[in-house]
Symmetry: C2
Subunit: 330 residues, 2 copies
């Protein structure tokens, strides 16, 4: 067996911490070729670990006294709380004691801390947050989904390259199709940013650029990687979540309103299947790509399965040497 990947995991971040986080770590060491460093308040972590039978040598508890809340201002929280699970975990990734770091805690603090502590790969201007956006037949990898709200065209070109490497290696898609999110299919459409980005992407080497994708077509999944600035990306991501929820609510409302209760009862399974197709736990988190180590932002509501899947992502990422491949591609 290869050398095991070591993942540092923030035991204190997320709505269901530490219970589900610790359970995710236990499940991960049982199923994956990984060792875990669980970072946080050791009494709480040990109390959770005591519930399970697992290979003890593969989970190490690293004590960190402080916790950064989701309501704290990222920069000052990172500077002030040196002994927080988030800062201690990021330092493990920086020093090489861990290959990657996963946290379901504050997005802002994680992104800020990752940039300050782990640092960018040489040549990467802005690391990007990637998200697997569910589509009709699978998913599209969207970046940037919120880390960089104001972008230059050059950043978008780098997002395209990093996204291609990621999707190729993590999901095994050869020559992934890369599209630019734009309001119009033709090259000359869009705003100042997308017009300039199109020019760069068109002549960019090592990516399979297929042109613009209109927001209307995103849910049909015609591209494997889609790039845009973080404001637009976050808008796409969050609107998709809100709209899916609303539509399903409305459909259920209409069904239960009339004399369709019998039909509604029969439809539990199809509705569950629809929900599953849009299930973010399956992927288990958004990778922050372009840093010297992988940092994964797990959803705030992550359960054990989501955490395990985020860890799986770290294992694949490290084994495939994505950092090396990004350096090579830029």
């Amino acid at each position: 067996m290869d050398k095991k990947v070591i993942v540092a995991l923030d035991a204190m971040g997320g709505d269901l911490a530490p219970v589900e986080i610790v359970k995710g770590a236990v499940d991960a060491v049982k199923e994956l070729n990984v060792d875990i460093k669980l970072v946080g308040q050791q009494d709480k972590i040990n109390a959770e670990l005591a519930k399970y039978t697992y290979p003890k040598e593969r989970i190490q508890v690293i004590h960190a006294e402080e916790v950064i809340g989701t309501d704290e201002v990222p920069t000052s929280a990172i500077r002030r709380k040196k002994d927080s699970s988030l800062v201690v975990g990021l330092n493990l990734a920086k020093s090489g004691e861990a290959d990657a770091f996963v946290s379901a805690g504050s997005t802002g603090a994680l992104l800020t801390g990752a940039l300050l502590i782990v640092g960018r790969i040489e040549g990467v201007e802005r690391p990007a947050l990637g998200t697997c956006l569910p589509t009709k037949n699978g998913f599209t990898f969207l970046l940037d989904s919120g880390a960089n709200v104001d972008c230059k065209a050059k950043y978008l070109e780098q997002f395209a390259k990093m996204g291609s490497v990621y999707v190729e290696n993590i999901f095994g898609m050869a020559q992934p199709k890369v599209a630019l999110v734009n309001i119009g299919a033709e090259k000359e459409k869009g705003n100042a940013l997308t017009k300039e980005a199109y020019e760069l992407l068109e002549v960019s080497e090592n990516i399979n650029f297929v042109g613009n994708i209109e927001p209307r077509d995103i849910p049909f999944g015609q591209a494997d990687v889609i790039v845009c600035d973080g404001f637009v990306g976050n808008t796409i991501l969050k609107l998709s979540e809100g709209l899916s929820k609303t539509l399903i609510d409305i459909i259920k409302e209409e069904i239960t309103a009339g004399s369709y209760k019998f039909a509604a009862a029969m439809l539990k399974t199809p509705f569950r299947n629809v929900k599953k197709r849009f299930d973010s736990d399956e992927v288990g988190g958004a990778p922050f790509i372009g840093l010297k180590s992988l940092v994964v932002k797990a959803h705030g509501s992550s359960n054990a399965r989501a955490i395990k899947n985020a860890i799986r992502q770290c294992v694949l990422f490290t084994e495939a040497d994505i950092v090396g491949k990004i350096k090579h591609k830029l």
Copy 2:
């Protein structure tokens, strides 16, 4: 009865022109306090008009030989095709021979032509395209939904004022709640544009600014008017269309895949109701606001009902003197 409103209508624009456009005009004069100037190739228009019984004096045919296609470059099409239904119709709105102009033709040509020919209200920096976005309990008026892809903060403040006047007068909502589309609820969140726009909106007089709205919350309809740049607005609009369609497809797929055919048959009515709640024909078009006359972009696939509702919008707009009220509010 008041003086009748006169609406110029592009008989040649849209996928279902001239058949459905002419039918929409006939329905409008029967139901509304309006006279129509139908602009386009008179032989074709007269052949359609011959199918109906209606008060002849209330529909006038204005011949225009040329048609601008949706694939033409807007600026050159407007300059070159002086005798197109679109240019002739816009000139009627400019000269005051019509109070408003409705077209289901090329969006780009209509917006460009409206700016060049009809012109802006004094003080309006950028007219905005407004859209009624369906929400869980009604709709939200979104502007700009695609006319201005690169915006300054000042434009967004004007969109908020114009949107408020529109919603108050057309839909009778007093003190409409205005929100800024932003990726984060707090004032300090967002990109350079939204941060600056927030500062302006916060102290802006005559609007009921309620702060940021996150894209996730848009479908729940917590604001009456939402403002953003045209790139983000068009993304919201088109992604909503695409995602609604995809989700309904997926749900139907799941229902018909299993042994749920019986349930599916029972669900035709609820599904039709859901579709109706998201029906754009009900509103009948996107008003281009901030011009000296109202110009309405009807959807390319508009049927007679959509056209009639677009005309109704023109009647309300003119009777309420929205141009005067916008001047007063800026």
